[in-house]
């Protein structure tokens, strides 16, 4: 416990500056720039809080003692950090983004590209690929040993998560439409399965997988294997709960929207044609 208290905060300049610029850009975009260019309505308060909450969580994940705990001592702590980045910060940022902001950015980018990037298979592989690849022991140990690669790793986590969460938590842009609710729910299922597979492999492993943490100094009385199993659990349960929550919210939005726009209006729509003879 005493050791825990002594682990200090790691105020990386790149992190602090980066997050600050990110926050400033957001505030400018939804404030003065929005009013000046008449881009649209201000995002609701809860959306703005979501965005800033995501920033705060991300910042804490990267500069609080959690960072050193994870980088130098415990695999499980490191997993909490990644979890915060991929399952909290990224979806919160998306939730906080107003649709018109996305539209504005997209008008500057080739829309076909944006459409392809956020397509479900691409989103899936971005999210899952980034997650699985960095857990391969060779790559994991590499990131642990080289700070530049470690920063790159975190950036890919955030990027992959932003793309992966886009179909579910992304803003309602008029240019980039989201897939139908049932399809989004199936997508969430597949993402959950991918997370389950990785968590299972790590948690059920009978030997420590990562050389770095085998040799790390012990803390809190956890052996390397116990630490690894704890890490597996911490990757597993919170991510499942968040994905379940996403499933529920997607469902609620679907049924709510449907209640407001009943399908009768489609009754005269030739969605359906009978044939005689």
């Amino acid at each position: 416990m005493k050791e825990l208290m002594q682990i200090g905060w790691t105020w990386y300049p790149s992190v602090v500056v980066g997050f600050s610029i990110w926050t400033v850009c957001y505030c400018l975009a939804i404030g003065p720039l929005r009013r000046h260019f008449s881009w649209g309505e201000a995002p609701r308060l809860i959306q703005q809080m979501a965005f800033h909450g995501g920033t705060l969580i991300g910042l804490l994940a990267l500069v609080s003692p959690l960072d050193r705990l994870g980088d130098e001592y415990l695999f499980s702590a490191h997993m909490v950090q990644h979890l915060l980045l991929m399952f909290f910060t990224s979806p919160l940022w998306l939730a906080g983004m107003p649709g018109w902001l996305v539209d504005q950015i997209l008008t500057k980018l080739p829309q076909i590209l944006a459409g392809k990037i956020t397509a479900l298979p691409v989103a899936f592989f971005s999210f899952v690929g980034v997650m699985w690849l960095w857990h391969i022991p060779a790559f994991f140990n590499l990131a642990q040993s080289d700070e530049g690669i470690h920063i790159f790793e975190h950036l890919t986590f955030i990027g992959g998560a932003l793309i992966g969460w886009w179909p579910i938590a992304g803003p309602s842009s008029t240019i980039l439409s989201k897939p139908s609710a049932p399809l989004r729910m199936i997508y969430i299922f597949f993402v959950t399965m991918a997370c389950t597979g990785l968590a299972a492999l790590i948690t059920f492993s009978t030997s420590p997988l990562y050389a770095f943490y085998r040799q790390a100094p012990r803390i809190l009385g956890l052996s390397p294997l116990e630490d690894q199993h704890l890490g597996g659990l911490l990757m597993w349960l919170p991510s499942h709960m968040i994905l379940l929550l996403a499933l529920g919210i997607t469902f609620l939005i679907w049924f709510q929207r449907d209640k407001n726009h009943p399908a009768d209006k489609l009754a005269s729509n030739p969605r359906f044609r009978s044939e005689s003879r």
Partner: protein, 548 residues
């Protein structure tokens, strides 16, 4: 808008009559009946196997069945009831009713539908032929490796099981595919997914569960087959394999499988209770989401079947917590069913009796499951009769009661006659009493430490009393089934009344003739709410009016 007037039905003169037409049929209603009849025959066989088990266990140190025969019998009992009875019964009702309930003329792939059925039948018969070719599989319905490797299971029984499972898996996958495409593509105008009848919803979720979980079973049995036939070592620890690998692969399928077994029955009950309470289902969106959540979570709890395999405590914690969580959606459903009945105009016809019986029995079985989710409790009770009690409460008291509810409910639609109420009530009460006589004492036996799958037990532990009582119960169940069979044939021999809507139902299947013509609907109906038939019969009180 489908303004069809007269549809002239051009019938090609049948090339061959009667029996052959049934062999060549691609009509979903006939295929549904074929599934139901085949599954019923397998049910009788599986029931016979159960009676054999109960006779053997009625007395301590009994010699009615040899140990090896006993092992084959209980293995085939489990395999039969799960793969050859409950699943095809659900498929049978699904096949018959889903197109009707969504206002379609048939399934999306009628020929594939026929293929599913015949593959299932062949797979089941193939498995049973093992009895003649050297012995049936004898290591339990989940066939744990390495006990099922060639060294420890030298007869061909396991190979029959593996190949049979592959065939059944193929049949189920094709069938599930058919359901999903049908439900997505062939719904009547106005029938959005948010208005789908609950039975159709549960068939959808079940079908997704099947196509996503069966691949894991396929991998498991393929690797076992390679071990047995080509000398591979997937499950052989000495050569770098893993005995636990089998358990993971199997239960990753096995747990969604139990939801595959129960969801259709939950769907049936969700149809019957509202009709016989004269009210719409309470909390429709919550019930739908709980079906989806059960399916979703079902893929995440598999290792609660493996608590005693030496997992690290963090893993135990995760699976215990998740298994508690999965009880919540079921609780939501039970609450919704009870709330539907509350202040309703209840009619206690036989379908409703079985539906209420389902709720009560499934509650007990579900609570048993929650007990087993408590890891230290599970360490004592796993592989004892407590588990046998749990699984039978949910599968017999649950799935089977739900299916019988469907039988009594939909028999008039399928045959144009009702099953007799008097005999129906005898059937219900005898089955209910018998079932509880068999499976309630198993709680006590489990707590007393009686292991499952043992072919006999020593005297003097106090187990003999309960075992004897259970055997009596089993014969009471058998009697109730005979009453049902009598009812079935007697009702068929009565003159047809061809009532379209005997129960004052809510959903589209009651809009057709009983039995429906081959084309189902002369004119595809339009739908404006979740109870299209109610809307039609009571235009002033129509649901879509209330919603507006």
């Amino acid at each position: 808008m489908t303004a069809q007037t007269d549809i002239v039905v051009k019938r090609r003169a049948p090339v061959v009559g009667g029996l052959i037409s049934w062999l060549l049929t691609v009509d979903h209603k006939r295929i549904g009946i074929l599934y139901l009849l085949s599954a019923s025959l397998f049910f009788l066989v599986g029931g016979l196997e159960a009676l054999l088990i109960r006779i053997q266990l009625a007395r301590p140190e009994n010699t009615f069945l040899s140990p090896d025969t006993y092992n084959q019998v209980f293995t085939m009992h489990g395999t039969t009831m799960i793969f050859l009875v409950v699943m095809p019964l659900a498929a049978g009702f699904g096949n018959y009713m889903v197109p009707l309930m969504i206002g379609a003329r048939d399934m999306a792939f009628p020929k594939l539908n026929a293929l599913s059925f015949w593959t299932f039948l062949f797979g089941g018969l193939f498995m049973y032929s093992s009895f003649v070719f050297g012995g049936a599989p004898n290591f339990g319905w989940f066939s744990y490796a390495p006990g099922t490797e060639k060294l420890y299971s030298p007869t061909h029984g396991m190979d029959f099981w593996i190949l049979g499972i592959l065939m059944l898996g193929l049949a189920t996958t094709i069938g599930s595919l058919n359901f999903i495409v049908t439900i997505i593509q062939l719904r009547a105008p106005g029938l959005s997914l948010t208005r789908l009848p609950l039975f159709v919803w549960t068939m959808t979720v079940t079908s997704f569960l099947a196509v996503f979980s069966l691949p894991s079973l396929t991998t498991a049995v393929l690797l076992l087959f390679l071990d047995r036939q080509l000398g591979a070592h997937f499950y052989n620890v000495v050569q770098g394999g893993s005995a636990l690998l089998w358990q993971h692969l199997f239960w990753f399928f096995g747990h969604p499988e139990v939801y595959i077994l129960i969801l259709p029955a939950m769907g049936i009950v969700s149809e019957v209770i509202p009709v016989f309470s004269g009210k719409p289902l309470f909390g429709y969106p919550a019930v739908v989401f709980s079906a989806i959540a059960i399916g979703f979570l079902g893929f995440t709890v598999w290792a609660h079947h493996m608590f005693a395999t030496g997992m690290p405590s963090t893993t135990l914690l995760f699976f215990a917590a998740d298994s508690f969580l999965i009880g919540v959606p079921t609780g939501v459903k039970i609450f919704a069913w009870l709330a539907t009945m509350w202040k309703g105009k209840l009619r206690f016809a036989t379908p409703m009796l079985f539906a209420i019986g389902f709720v009560a029995m499934f509650l007990i079985g579900g609570l048993d499951g929650i007990h087993l989710a408590v890891v230290p409790v599970d360490w004592q009770l796993t592989d004892t009769y407590y588990v046998v009690s749990h699984l039978h409460y949910v599968l017999f008291g649950g799935a089977l009661f739900g299916i019988f509810s469907g039988v009594y409910y939909w028999f008039p639609k399928m045959t144009g006659r009702r099953l007799q109420e008097g005999l129906g009530k005898w059937h219900f009460w005898l089955m209910f009493i018998g079932m509880n006589l068999v499976f309630m004492p198993m709680h006590i036996l489990g707590l007393q430490g009686m292991p499952r799958r043992i072919y006999t037990y020593g005297a003097g532990r106090g187990w003999e009393v309960w075992n004897f009582v259970e055997t009596i119960g089993a014969f009471i169940i058998a009697t109730s089934i005979m009453i049902f069979i009598v009812n079935f044939f007697a009702s068929l021999r009565m003159a047809a009344t061809n009532e379209e809507d005997p129960w004052d139902g809510f959903t589209l299947e009651w809009k057709t003739a009983s039995p429906p013509p081959v084309y189902n609907f002369a004119e595809i109906p339009s739908v404006r709410s979740r109870r299209p038939l109610w809307d039609e019969k009571h235009p002033e009180l129509a649901d879509w009016r209330v919603e507006e």
